[in-house]
Subunit: 114 residues, 2 copies
DNA sequence: TCAATTCATAACTTTATGGTTATGGATTTG
DNA sequence: CAAATCCATAACCATAAAGTTATGAATTGA
């Protein structure tokens, strides 16, 4: 089943990525991090419609999908968007025909900069 | 909450798209359709690891996300991949900074060929 | 006509997911 | 030190989702 060993388990990565992105609250968190840069959980809770524990759990899911990174500073945890994390998704989209894959080629280098 | 009215309900579209893509079986079906072209449910069941009813339900979900189209011919239903269906996802990804959005610009025209 | 094929839907089970409130650890601050 | 702040986790609930088998409608073919 592993048609390209060097890619590792890309399918599993896509599963986690797509699942992580399939929730509007998580996408909103990610968008905010992309636009505003590193933010504390407190700040992210303030702009979210859900409770702080839920924000923490959403962030944990984004982190497991490698779409954000966390940095602890004292009692605060600062999260940042990890742009490269989308790469497996972009690579997967390359199945969508030549037109698309041509344009995606440059992006694939981000993930596989060999 | 509607920061850009002309986009319609893009967020809901992304929700359905990402959810549709978050399942490996569905992605496999889609990949097969992209590579092999129009296929009957029977043929798609043959290449899937799950039962025929499950294949039908996965296809229904892909159809609701507008990632496939269905054509009934006698007792068979032929499904086809709908390439443009990914457009909202691609557009959403444009939030990922200038580097990415530059390259996505051309793709966005696919969805909004005004 | 009768049997077989193709597909979708119903009914059901199990597990995953999004949400809540409550709690407790770690760190600042008064 | 005590109180307040920040965060993560636990416990719980409700719903969604993936899977199964059973069934039935529609079409094809003998």
């Amino acid at each position: 089943m592993d048609s390209h060993p060097s890619h590792g388990d890309r399918s599993a990565a896509c599963d986690e990525l797509f699942k992580a992105l399939s929730d509007g609250t998580r996408r909103a968190l990610l968008e905010y991090l992309v636009r505003q840069g590193e933010q504390s959980v407190h700040a992210l809770t303030a702009i979210s419609a859900v409770s702080q524990p839920m924000v923490s759990r959403h962030l944990a899911k984004l982190k497991r999908a490698r779409l954000v990174t966390a940095r602890r500073a004292g009692r605060e945890t600062y999260y940042s968007a990890r742009v490269k994390g989308l790469a497996p998704v972009v690579q997967w989209m390359a199945i969508y025909g030549a037109l698309w894959s041509q344009r995606f080629t440059a992006l694939e280098e981000l993930a596989d900069p060999a």
